[in-house]
Symmetry: C2
Subunit: 336 residues, 2 copies
DNA sequence: CTAATAAACTTAAACGATTAAGCGGAGGCG
DNA sequence: CGCCTCCGCTTAATCGTTTAAGTTTATTAG
């Protein structure tokens, strides 16, 4: 491969000069600079990221940690759209991304170790379980970190407003006349906590009483678990008229349960998802759901992280809240 | 960060000794080795990937190039499941993966340049358009390359058997009594070519005549385009009884078109997808589709690529065909 | 007893880039 | 004229690892 040395030789200058010319340093003559640039281009020169990283301690690589204990993680549209927006934001700033895993080859290593090994400049974390010991180790390290949908002290957090989203959904279905609402929520995380608060608050303000047996814990992104719970909800002596699901993906499982019970959506039962992933718009009926701005979630996390990496002193390490909006699909009907 | 030097100091040996001890070289005494290993562990030593890559010219990084001109690429379950299996196979061998893009920061660079910059040891390519100039540049370079669903000479190719898949699907619906079959296929790629061949051959062998107007070009992973084409197909004087779609994702668009035309699946029209992504199983009715082994597609591509990287002389650069199987969903009905 | 061999290290160069410090010459100033 | 400044470049060290070649000491063979 062609290196600085080759260019230096061809131009009759030192490698230092070439390096500075290419990096736009001021102490290089205009004539020399343009000659170097021309030759570099001619030879098809491309810097060596490893050498640069070794010397400067900046890899222009950001780590992405997606932990979803149940499934692959990437396989879900929510994660993959967030990932894609992280990727494209990072790319715009000259960064590549590296997936952080535990274990490299046969050796078991922690997330932090993996980050150190690759010398990533920072990490974006989206996880279901932020209490995981290895995740907290990472958050407590000196690496720049941005979390998605979870808050740590003195760390960048990008959040979607779960409380508001749930509040809006409850008000929406209530306005449609629903009072018998069941809620299947995800695992016990801060996301779930926010949604539960929003749900209960809205119900209370609207004077809606929800029996405990209608508040059920399911699993995020798991149509199967929601299928089972939905079947149970439909078997009770009194049936809810509307069911909330932890996300659009598992909502589909719920829809199937409803169909399999011989009922129709929304004629017999209304269904509400969460996330607003593309899938929610291509199914029929289109889901009534809270559309999270996954694009913003990912790109803001990346942008803020890069801001911290590049301007550590002036960067503000607080939370950013991303707006969402209600997607009024056809899965909720007006009753009475 | 703790480096070889620190360990060397603490152990009273040279860095060379430490390096060799950690890498399992034979010319290190047992006692010294275990002392070094212990100290390294105590100090939490982690090698520096950049330094190692710089010296050895091996980054333990493989590039992944997904080009989907229409959409994000990652956002589709087919790609994301393939990606995930590449990732986990690579991880098992001690490799990380890097997305290859054109452009880094403001600068426009080719895929190959990006690969050189990051010093990836090889690339897995999955693309809709393998005739893209930058893709061929990459394939013609000296970098180890494995392609998914496309064959280049003297290159590893991992393919799913599109001809066989299509053949099986045609025979399946024919056995159910369908003779009026419409086919919406994807862009003009080798995947499409294989499927068309399979389709025509099976039809011919079964003595089924398909009018040209029922063979339509759509767009992969684009429910919208399939929606439009489906509407057109339904408007004709004679309606097909079964429609084949380029993939499960866009099949959903077709289902909606059918519903919106006041028809039901499979009662009035049968529908066939392709891929067999998780989505195809959670919709209702479950799609009749050809289930590609995306898991195998990704992990074989990665495994074969790594084989070539690690044993360049003995590696066999040919094609591997991955089996699929028919998923008999409920979207095709028995007629007559 | 000497010489060859083996074992267990060390030395030192190299990978490709960056960057602080130095240096020669031109021009300006008093 | 002598001194200072500034420009434009070079020198040389350094980042953390690897590895070919060399060195020391002990062991074995002849």
């Amino acid at each position: 491969m062609v290196s600085l040395k080759d260019i230096a030789q061809r131009c009759g200058v030192s490698t230092a000069t070439v390096s500075k010319a290419l990096n736009g340093q001021p102490d290089i003559g205009e004539e020399t600079r343009s000659r170097i640039l021309r030759i570099a281009d001619e030879l098809g020169y491309m810097a060596n990221a490893s050498a640069r990283a070794l010397k400067t301690k900046r890899s222009y690589n950001i780590g992405v940690l997606f932990v979803d204990p149940m499934h692959g993680g990437l396989a879900h549209e929510f994660f993959s759209t967030v990932l894609d927006s992280i990727r494209s934001e990072a790319e715009g700033h000259g960064y590549d991304i590296t997936f952080i895993n535990q274990g490299l080859g046969q050796r078991e290593i922690s997330y932090l170790q993996h980050c150190r090994y690759r010398g990533v400049d920072g990490v974006v974390i989206a996880s279901v379980d932020f209490t995981d010991h290895m995740v907290t180790e990472l958050v407590q390290s000196d690496l720049p970190v941005a979390t998605i949908d979870h808050v740590f002290n003195d760390r960048i957090a990008v959040l979607s407003d779960n409380l508001k989203g749930m509040d809006a959904l409850v008000r929406f279905v209530a306005a449609k006349g629903h009072r018998k609402i069941a809620l299947i929520h995800g695992e016990d995380t801060s996301v779930t906590a926010g949604r539960l608060t929003g749900f209960h608050r809205a119900c209370e303000e609207l004077g809606i009483q929800i029996p405990d047996k209608w508040i059920r814990q399911g699993v995020f992104h798991d149509p199967k678990s929601c299928y089972a719970i939905t079947r149970e909800l439909l078997e009770g002596p009194e049936r809810p008229t509307c069911i909330f699901f932890p996300d659009d993906y598992s909502c589909i499982g719920g829809l199937n349960a409803i169909h399999d019970a011989g009922l129709r959506v929304p004629a017999d039962i209304s269904a509400v998802g969460y996330d607003g992933i593309p899938l929610s718009r291509i199914v029929s009926p289109v889901l009534t759901t809270w559309r999270q701005d996954t694009e913003a979630l990912g790109s803001l996390a990346a942008a803020r992280l890069i801001e911290q990496i590049e301007h550590p002193r002036t960067a503000i390490l607080d939370r950013v809240i991303v707006e969402g909006r209600l997607q009024e699909g056809g899965s909720v009907r007006q009753i009475c």
